[in-house]
């Protein structure tokens, strides 16, 4: 009997201090972690990707076509959800969408084959929470600067009976305040759940193989086949989560721009 493989699916989310373990600001450590490293890698990959497509050729090549497809996609999303006023948010939504997309995909890359352990920083609430707060802050700033205190009419839908206004106001206020949490939580949990699932399945493959040929055939091989399917599903989820994050930001911006 081979020794039991030790399963620690949460180990992949461990933050490691790569440099500056003693950099402190006001009692908080600001070390350069593996999370920060992969954020930097995602940013650089994104800059390279976009810079490669900024050629403005009249007949676009493949690369320019890829970048223009993405910008056109974001442009269309804002036009459909916010309307004419949405044009000015294209840079923000594009950066947000592409950053999350690159982060999700980089985390799924099989770089472990060459000994580099990819870190999915979108599986941490501290990263997705900041992105969500950024979106929420823009909604608040735009809403209050454009409509002033009239922005509060967002919490009282048209045609609400007067007797119902206090209750509806509270309900709408809560649903408004919960938005940044649901936005950040959705991305972080979806990415974390997917990576834990992949880790658990891969441990089935390895411990199945360790326990002799019979277990390898009845447990290892089916797990491996399932894992290929789950990997494809995770690629889909990575895309959908980035899309949903950008889409919901658009919907919230629509509330701020046009009230309702």
């Amino acid at each position: 009997m081979a020794t039991e493989a030790k399963l620690d699916p949460m180990h992949q989310f461990q933050l490691e201090k790569l440099a500056g373990a003693d950099w402190n600001i006001a009692g908080y450590n600001i070390a350069f972690t593996n999370s920060a490293l992969w954020m930097a890698i995602a940013t650089i990959a994104l800059i390279v990707f976009v810079a490669g497509g900024m050629k403005r050729a009249v007949v676009p090549g493949r690369w320019q076509m890829a970048v223009e497809t993405f910008t056109g996609f974001i442009d269309g999303m804002l036009a459909a959800n916010v309307g004419k006023n949405g044009k000015k948010y294209v840079p923000y939504i594009f950066s947000l969408f592409m950053f999350i997309l690159f982060a999700n995909f980089l985390g799924l890359m099989p770089l472990g084959v060459v000994g580099v352990h990819a870190f999915t920083f979108t599986s941490h609430f501290s990263a997705t929470g900041v992105l969500a707060i950024l979106s929420f802050a823009i909604v608040l700033i735009v809403g209050f600067s454009k409509h002033g205190l009239h922005f509060f009419s967002l919490f009282v839908p048209h045609g609400t009976p007067v007797a119902m206004i206090p209750i509806i106001f509270v309900v709408e206020l809560i649903s408004f305040l919960v938005r940044p949490f649901s936005l950040g939580l959705r991305l972080f949990v979806a990415m974390m759940a997917g990576h834990v699932l992949l880790e658990v399945l891969s441990s089935f493959v390895i411990s199945g193989g360790n326990n002799g040929p019979v277990m390898f055939v009845i447990a290892g091989v089916p797990s491996f086949v399932l894992m290929i399917g789950i990997c494809a599903l995770e690629l889909l989820v990575a895309g959908i989560q980035a899309y949903v994050f950008a889409l919901l930001t658009c919907v919230y911006l629509n509330d701020a721009e046009n009230l309702h």
Partner: protein, 74 residues
């Protein structure tokens, strides 16, 4: 019952929520396809709403995962 065992049971029960959310997500896409096949012309414009519904249904399932993870690891 041992507190540790109760935690594990709770985490297992929380997984029921994930299963129910899968029914919800399935419903969202099923109803969308049903409508889209009846009126394909209007389908493309509704894709944004499809994903908003999907996001809502999915979030509630993910919350049960959070509860399970908290029970096991926290």
């Amino acid at each position: 019952m041992d507190a540790e065992a109760a935690k594990m049971l709770g985490a297992g029960f929380a997984a029921i929520g994930a299963g129910l959310a899968s029914i919800g997500v399935g419903n969202v896409f099923a109803k969308f396809l049903e409508g889209a096949l009846r009126n394909p012309g209007a389908a493309d414009a509704q894709q944004g709403r499809l994903f908003i519904g999907f996001a809502g249904a999915e979030l509630l399932g993910l919350l049960s995962f959070v509860i399970a993870a908290l029970l096991i690891f926290a």
